[in-house]
Symmetry: C2
Subunit: 268 residues, 2 copies
């Protein structure tokens, strides 16, 4: 698992603001046959996050090179981290930051094929997502809420935990976005107050729109999910996993997750 800091094998400054404040962004990218999947969408989200945090924008070509260096061929995962770089003490961002780029390669995770064919079991987490529009949607490094939520269970048969915001709306999984067919309509939680707007979420919305099925971005309460005819979770690595059990309620794997996964497999 190669880990490169600004293209070199070592040298992360302990005073990097990425560590001191979580002052940065990241992307988790699937690599197939040495090619980064949805590379453009990942780089666009990173650029949007940089704009929102007033970070220097990364150079797409340089990032592509880092991804290739971290995982040169075959199937794997590259995690890119882009921080405001090293600085002295104090929250105030430096006037001329020198961003840090970390690219880490990981082997492709082993998941049972049944996660796609039969679906996965999902629970609700107690840990809530705090609301803050200035941070909502982007994939920044402040992830303690997800860490605490993921620490809530160690039953290997539970694949994901859903997180609510402090108002009781369902927002996402700890590491995935959520889709549900409610009253015949495909919906996904709005992410204007919290949550991460995933690259695979965007792909699902684009795929559905191409089929004339506009995804509703809206508030979704647990009671609405109880009536859903289909639920699935998505992220950049898994594509879409049908939810076959949510907090004890059984569901059949639905046609939309299967349809999307088939489209995704054809595409990559």
């Amino acid at each position: 698992m190669p880990v490169l800091v600004n293209g070199r094998a070592t040298g992360l400054d302990p005073l990097d603001r990425g560590l001191q404040y979580g002052d940065g962004l990241f992307e988790t990218i699937a690599v197939h046959d040495g090619r980064a999947r949805f590379l453009e969408a990942h780089l666009e989200r990173l650029a949007e996050g940089a704009r929102r945090l007033a970070l220097p924008s990364p150079d797409p070509e340089r990032l592509s090179g880092q991804i290739a260096a971290a995982w040169p061929d075959g199937r794997g995962v590259v995690k890119l981290v882009w921080t405001r770089g090293p600085a002295g003490r104090g929250y105030r961002p430096p006037l001329s930051p020198e961003p840090t780029c970390i690219a880490a390669g990981f082997a492709w995770p082993e998941w049972p094929a049944s996660a796609w064919s039969e679906g996965v079991r999902v629970r609700y987490c107690r840990t809530r997502l705090g609301s803050n529009p200035v941070l909502a949607g982007i994939k920044h490094l402040n992830r303690l809420e997800q860490v605490l939520a993921r620490a809530e269970w160690d039953d290997e048969h539970i694949a994901e935990g859903l997180m609510l915001d402090t108002m009781g709306q369902v927002i996402s999984g700890t590491q995935s976005n959520l889709f549900a067919v409610v009253a015949g309509r495909l919906a996904t939680p709005a992410l204007d107050q919290c949550g991460v707007a995933g690259v695979m979420r965007r792909a699902v919305c684009g795929w559905a729109a191409d089929l004339g099925n506009q995804v509703a971005e809206c508030g979704l309460r647990p009671e609405a999910l109880e009536t859903a005819s289909e639920i699935f979770v998505t992220n950049a690595l898994i594509g879409a996993w049908p939810v076959r059990e949510l907090a004890g309620r059984q569901l059949p794997p639905g046609p939309l997750a299967a349809g999307f996964n088939a489209w995704l497999a054809e595409r990559t």
Copy 2:
């Protein structure tokens, strides 16, 4: 400025969860004559944060040694960072984490004496603090809200910015706690939903209680601050700075900040 990672001069792993997720805690400690001020309170808050995040608790003796190594004598600042250590990809905390301890020494900041004698100018920030009881009060590494708030102004004559929560309550400065005398009573914002419970805030509350003046921990709206007869901000380095101007409104430096600073100077 010595920076030690687990007691050594280098060697921070880029996969440290402190950087990957902000999965850790920190303390900013004033050192006078080579002695860490309020050391016990700092270590207690760190231990409380570790308990809340289910992090291994740091060994107080080892931390004291790290502080001494980072700033061996004279007057300075030591920033301690305590993370869940390096791990693979994924939010789930490792079963047996090996925490990282970073101790960085900094020269004492230069502030004009007038900050204490005449007071400072303070503004309101647009960036809000998201609410989350599971993270409220502790000094964790997820600090993007403070970074964005502190980036809102570059007028050197403004010493601090006050931050509101998403409900419109005033919570704290970007790097300080807030006290105000409202209707004759010393009050400080309750920190059960967001904010950091500062070591100097605790010292002020203890000092006031010893004088028979229990500090009210309550909700404080900007309108209440408009009627305050005295306002001051505190942190571990500055002690208490009287607020002489808040968002354009002038105030006289009050007796409580002066009294507390006199007590603090006598004590250290």
